[in-house]
Subunit: 427 residues, 4 copies
């Protein structure tokens, strides 16, 4: 790839790596993206509230956002910018070539994870002086690289816009972690005219020099926060007057783990956290459990969610507590459009750096690109998800790194080739 | 006591010991009682359905009754007698002296327990040749003695009726075990005119030669049968299609055991039995648990019952099963009428065989005489429960025995003395 | 197929259908098989204890066997025969052709299931007058047909023995239901010289006219009976002195259902039955739960068993009870020998009645032929399992029927063709 | 009482109210007490480590202490003082009169609770400008008053020392909340020569103008922190590799709630808090539950603790996690020395402010004065606990207040009268 674009991309990634922001608080990141897109010459840029449907937002804490907004302002983001975004994050740039042609959307996710970066001096960001400046937060899943690739693709597109036809939509999606952000973008309707949509993720099982076509195995998933509210009483004097939210949460947790396996495919249930009770000798009033379910098919995932609802309601009834179930994230399975897989394969094959192309379909994690692809598919479009390999020590670990920055050009290249193929003015 | 009455009483007790009948199936026993009362000269005898309110019957299995009716017929009870009783058991004899005076009721319970009598040759019923002829059933709680005492008292009363005033009601109550029978007698209204009611039990903590005034400590109790109904499925192929009644019952059992202690007094919860499931590899459709709760006060017992209801409903909801709660027994706490305690004390003191009189008030078992006393009290009457001591190896054990038949005259004597005091024509 | 053989086979199947016997109690069936084999001219017949390793027997109740032995004797089986079998069932006939050649084993299972046959007059066994004479027991899985096919194959072999070389071993396996019987046969060592082993099952997903090659999807499974033993106490007076086996079983059941899913393949856990407790107001001393686990791979199944052990031990510890875990059945996954699949395919293709040949590999039930195949494979042999289709309303249902007796010749034909191919004297 | 002493006492209480400190962090309070005692003329003052047995300390977090020490230093407590205390709190002053006579000990507790004081302007501390300056901490149980009474008594004693004989020991006990502090003082041996020990508490059920003799009903109690440690795994990809500490804690909690009631007296079990898990999609590695048990007798309490141990061990076994049980507090029942009750009664009767004297014996809270009394009793001494009534809105509530500072003189008066009676030089 073009040396200047490559170097800018690497710089961008490092700059973002320094300032990781968790889902729905990517103010510095969004401001950076929007500023860069403007500089590149994009005219139609939707940021924050304007690129999502606020009703459909999942897993966003107003309290956290308020706090983080102040932090971002202190870090130099103009308050007016965030205000204009209505305190939401993410951006969507639209390039209309003016020539008739298909609408193509590319998705890049921008948030970090709650991991503390290692202080190992051999860790490249430490060596290179671009480690996270924000304790407890880290781009340990590579979304800094995704965003940098996205901005590089944005630059390539604008530099080649005279050779292109149709419309290109570049989505910089917030809050992919916890599969929270895509739903609100899907629900915005802004992708309803999209003919083709593509997303990617670095690493995973894809090895350096490899492009992996994701044909299946992405588990549908729903993330839920469940709250029980009981009644306090002195546990020594009047235990009978209390209603223990903690006990309701414990009973629910045990029963949740026991949701029967589904004969139609793999399922998952995890009770990942519980915080319950106020004091040793007081009947606990508040209990929160954070759970997630998954399914090899949407049907299996729905089955799990349905069972969760019955169990939580039942536990609340048994312990005479109140309850709330809040959906904080949601993803579905990947839809396999064989023609799109073929396109990605060709786009990858055209790159000399690509040594191997594989297909993935075994059950693994979840990815909320699936929500965008589903919306596009429902409206008559198509799309695909691919992985570009890289060396790494495991995602979400404190020593995760895009160890070979040379891997990013593959992601860049596949996206550009796809645009070339689909939106060539020559076609 | 009169030698003839004593010997008849011992004979009666032994005869009844041979033919133990469990609650609501006391056909031979009821027929025996009614025959004897007639022979004695009682004219007003209500038997079976006529001395209870059928709507208020607890813990009676129509299936068991039907089977046992045939057994009783085979054992010689006229079918017409049982038909006239409408398949119910128990009897109530009324003696109207014709002289104005108070209405006094005496209660004697008649059923056996599900215990297999020991074959120890030293066990008195084996030695004396009057052991249970019905395998698995035994008068191991002394109700054979209670009934024998009752018939002896009935004889004494009729022999002394010219010295008595007012009305005497002799209640031969079915199904005391599981505290089932009293509710239906109370609800019959036949005791609503009673001024004084007395009941007794042999043994317990009362030692030989001792009469114990029961002033408290009788736990209120409710017995419940709980059934869950789920949905079958092959546990290997389609586990997700099943709804496990067994799991609902297990979760309910765990949560039941965990009902918070009551700050206002002792409580009890027991899950005594579970029968659940049809086959190893089929999701269980049926589950039955048999439970009981108790409370030092009626309020505590009600609290337990209320919690049971929420828990069972919640467990059914959680596992998406149906459920039923059937009350099979109920008793309340003893009401302490100090004046009546005084009367019993005096009646006992007048007996030379009585060496000691004690008061009981520590939490112990349950007794459904409490339901009769409550009804009488609610209608303006009074009453008391007492124990007459005897040597024994523990109630409900296979070697229980009224080891000293000499103890029965004490029970007999207290009852007669009470009647003498209250219904003396001389007063 | 030969008309005489066919008719004998149908008669056999009907005769067996009338006298269904559950696993390890197949005395009438075994006697019938042995008698027939003798009549056919088999000289080396091992029956009962002589064809199994008694140490390795699973899921056999000595009490049930003793009772059923008397029943069989009453039904006409010579007591001496059963005595010689040492009260065990099943048979193994060996035909040595005298010509060098491979050792081939064929497996036929002979037990029934605990299902009550429908009284629907349209149900063929009712129409044909050969319905089960034993209430609550029924050949509702088609093993009557398997045995009949086996005896027909035995006849064909002996009639063609001059055209055959090597050795043929015909296994009439007891107790396949609950996957109990194969382990003891495998452990006998009698199959350690086997080069090729084949088994079959009627029906399932195989349609009429179809032969299905079972290449995978047979779940490994372990069946366990778990007993907790606690301590009795009066639940009202001394609840603290009891140790509830019921509660231990409930807690174990809940925790068992919650064994985490395995990332490496489908797993199953079923708590199918619980019987616990002696009386409503007594702390339960005895609790039995009958469970099974399954796994898409042996590793997954082992993982489940390992977790069961920890959970049961933990529940017993928590409730201060004793426990026992008894393995009552075990099966593993199918080993796929492609060459054997090819042989079966060819054997099936040679039959004009076979319209279609399919392959099965989706997770479904369990089958203890897998234990025999594993033993043979471990010792250097190979083998395969196939299904011959038939019309049916579902296995283990009260109206199951081999509705088209014309399907049995396909099973017969595949076995004979396999023997022809492998043990042809001409080869 | 003496006006000067009264006014100093009120001032002291208000000053302490402003600077509440939780158990084992009472550095400002201890420094204040020690300074005052010195000023008063006490010569033998043991502070911090010198008045406890460090091995027997319960419920003290070194981490919290370290942080709070810095806070106290910043607030003006000399670092050298805390260092000399070895970072422990509490004080014991000894007055030897030089005249032979009994050794009398008086106990005053000094710590606060974790309650946030109300901002209601009508709340006296707000009105009077002495509300807590430490957010989230408050003297909401009246120990500020206890300490102020203690210092007033100390003053009275020194002012009257010439009229006294024997030895007086004044215990300013840390960490009464959570019944943590007394054990270490008891174990110090410093009270082994005590003949008489007295403690008091304000409020509770004692009304203004009332002194209550605590003759029973103080529940024995044990406070436990239970930690489970499991193994992390990605809950989506490898759920089978995780060992959930959260699930172990949930199962333990359910089973703990279900410890059978004790037939020998009231028991309590409370699971007051749970903190478990690290992230929604990670198998939880850490779980902490904070529990307490209580018993009407030490035997009942021991029974509860014994059951807790079995349950926690069992849950850890079932879920294959590690576990730890840490005792963080312990109290026993009150020992009733009738002669001491009589003494307190007389000491109270002698006060004109006392309108009424009552006796308490119903089960209620716990109090670790019991540990001191037990030690003294074991060594041949005697003692008693009393309550001096006051108006209040409920202990441990944000608007708790010693609403009538006039109540404190009653506490003061009873202690002084006891000393007068026991240690009078005239005797």
């Amino acid at each position: 790839m073009d040396r200047a674009i490559f170097e800018a991309m690497i710089n961008t990634r490092r700059q973002l790596h320094r300032r990781p922001e968790e889902g729905w608080t990517e103010f510095e990141t969004t401001y950076y993206i929007v500023s860069r897109l403007k500089t590149l010459g994009y005219e139609k840029i939707l940021a924050g509230a304007s690129c999502i449907n606020k009703e459909a937002v999942l897993g966003r804490s107003a309290e956290l956002v308020a706090r983080e907004k102040e932090r971002a302002v202190q870090a130099g983001v103009p308050r007016a910018f965030i205000d204009a975004c209505e305190d939401y994050t993410g951006a969507l740039a639209v390039l209309e070539t003016g020539r008739p042609g298909p609408v193509t959307a590319l998705r890049f996710d921008i948030d970090c994870v709650l991991v503390e970066e290692t202080d190992d001096p051999e860790h490249a960001p430490n060596k290179g002086g671009f480690a996270s400046e924000r304790k407890g937060l880290m781009h340990a899943c590579g979304h800094d690289g995704h965003t940098a690739v996205g901005l590089a693709v944005a630059r390539w597109i604008i530099e080649h816009k005279d050779e292109l036809s149709g419309t290109i939509k570049l989505i910089f999606q917030p809050a992919e972690e916890g599969v929270r952000g895509a739903a609100a973008i899907a629900a915005s309707g802004l992708l309803d005219d999209v003919d083709y949509i593509f997303g990617s993720h670095c690493g995973g099982k894809a090895k350096p020099g490899e492009v992996a076509l994701v044909r299946g195995g992405v588990l549908a998933s729903t993330k839920l926060d469940i709250r029980f509210t009981g009644k306090a009483s002195h546990a020594g004097n009047e235990p009978h007057k209390g209603r223990s939210a903690l006990m309701a949460a414990c009973a629910a947790s045990l029963m949740l783990a026991g949701i029967p396996r589904h004969g139609g495919g793999a399922s998952r249930i995890a009770v990942g956290k519980m915080i319950a009770g106020e004091g040793r000798n007081v009947t606990p009033v508040h209990a929160l459990i954070q759970i997630e379910v998954r399914g090899e098919t949407a049907e299996v995932n729905d089955y799990m969610v349905e069972n969760v609802k019955h169990i939580v309601k039942g536990a609340a009834e048994a312990y005479q507590t109140q309850y709330e179930i809040e959906k904080t994230g949601e993803a579905t399975t990947i839809i396999d459009h064989p023609e799109m897989q073929k396109l990605v394969r060709e786009a990858a094959q055209a790159l000399p750096e690509v040594k191997n192309i594989v297909e993935l379909s075994n059950p693994s994690g979840s990815e909320d690109f699936t929500a965008l692809l589903k919306r596009v598919t429902d409206k008559g479009g198509q799309g695909a998800l691919f992985r570009w390999g890289c060396r790494h020590n495991g995602h979400h670990k404190s020593d995760f790194d895009l160890q070979d920055e040379q891997s990013m050009p593959i992601g860049f290249g596949v996206f550009c080739n796809l645009v070339k193929k689909i939106n060539s003015a020559a076609c």
